[in-house]
């Protein structure tokens, strides 16, 4: 009887950690995408100061979140996005609208890829 309680407890712990991971990745991705969209919108409206602020906030928030995300995700994936964020901030300051849009799209694809790869779809399992 004790062993089965241990087994169930281990399964619950695993399920909790997996749920926390999916939730954490999902929330962080959405927050990040929101800030990135804000950055791009400000850039196209010519509000470069607002755009720089939004880009820096997004980058700073992402760097803070990497402490949690590194527990769940391969560090390489997280580091790639961190790198892209830094590049975005630089290009925002240089008012490169086209490059900023490209970087934002790249980050969105990376975030979507991380998020989707953690979901239990058949192609992910196989």
């Amino acid at each position: 009887m004790n062993r089965i309680i241990v087994a169930i407890a281990l399964l619950i712990i695993s399920a909790t950690i997996c749920t926390m991971e999916i939730h954490s990745v999902s929330i962080n991705s959405e927050e990040c995408i929101e800030k990135l969209n804000e950055t791009v919108n400000h850039m196209y409206l010519g509000n470069y100061n607002e755009a720089i602020k939004a880009a820096e906030t997004a980058s700073h928030a992402w760097k803070n979140n990497t402490k949690i995300l590194d527990i769940f995700l391969y560090h390489d994936y997280v580091d790639e996005i961190t790198e892209s964020m830094s590049t975005l901030v630089i290009n925002t300051k240089e008012k490169n609208n086209k490059v900023c849009s490209e970087i934002v799209e790249k980050i969105k694809v990376q975030l979507a890829s991380i998020k989707n790869s953690e979901l239990p779809y058949l192609h992910n399992i196989l």
């Binding site: 062993r3 695993s14 995700l73 560090h75």
Partner: protein, 222 residues
């Protein structure tokens, strides 16, 4: 490098706890499923140890799932002989009443050399001496010799033998082992007085064995 050291220690402790939860100590006593899981755990645990870019959880979570699956499967196997036979297999008779079951040998893909090696390791140098030989689900052979080849026991020789109970280790490397003392019905007072009689103290003792008849044997530390 420091991270590697910390991860290695953490995973090592975690794997010890995980295998301990499984509840088997010796490789030879493991059922098929436990052996498979132990091998897989070893492999899974080594990956995050070596690759610091990989989260530790990628080793921890699969191990937790494997351990809980193993516990659940072992409970199901305990309750259902059908499932047990399906997963672990059944014992097979290789020698039945002195006759070698050649078809069983063939189906197990076991050669006569393999069989002879295992029989010799069990003390049977001549297959004609064997009455029954069974291969267990864990791959080990169990043997019964023909009656005329078996060693007689005390009952058959009508020899009265004193029952001294179990000889247990009651002191190991200077430390008293309470469980063994209980087994032999021996208290600490007797042990200390015996040591005093021998002019020894606990610290001098490497091993002390005793039984319920208070017969003891001491090996001192060098």
């Amino acid at each position: 490098m420091l991270i590697l050291v910390i991860r290695t220690v953490l995973m090592y402790l975690f794997v010890i706890i995980a295998v301990r939860i499984m509840g088997k100590r010796q490789l030879s006593e493991m059922q098929t499923t436990e052996l498979v899981i132990t091998l897989i755990i070893a492999d899974i645990a080594s990956i995050p140890m070596q690759n610091t870019a990989q989260p530790l959880l990628t080793g921890v979570i699969p191990i937790l799932i494997l351990i809980s699956s193993e516990i659940i499967i072992s409970i199901i196997m305990m309750k259902s002989s059908k499932i047990r036979n399906m997963i672990c297999g059944k014992p097979e008779v290789l020698v039945n009443d002195g006759k070698l079951c050649q078809n069983t040998l063939k189906s197990l893909r076991m050669t006569t050399e393999d069989l002879s090696v295992q029989l010799r390791q069990l003390g049977a140098y001549n297959i004609n001496d064997v009455q029954f030989c069974i291969i267990e689900p864990n791959g080990k052979l169990s043997l019964q010799l023909k009656p005329e080849k078996r060693s007689p026991n005390c009952e058959q020789l009508q020899v009265a033998v004193r029952d001294t109970g179990i000889d247990a280790v009651i002191i190991s490397d200077g430390e008293l082992l309470k469980n063994s003392m209980k087994l032999c019905n021996i208290d600490e007072e007797w042990i200390l007085s015996t040591l005093q009689k021998e002019g020894l103290s606990l610290d001098n003792i490497m091993i002390m064995t005793a039984n319920k008849m208070r017969e003891y044997n001491i090996i001192r530390k060098e």
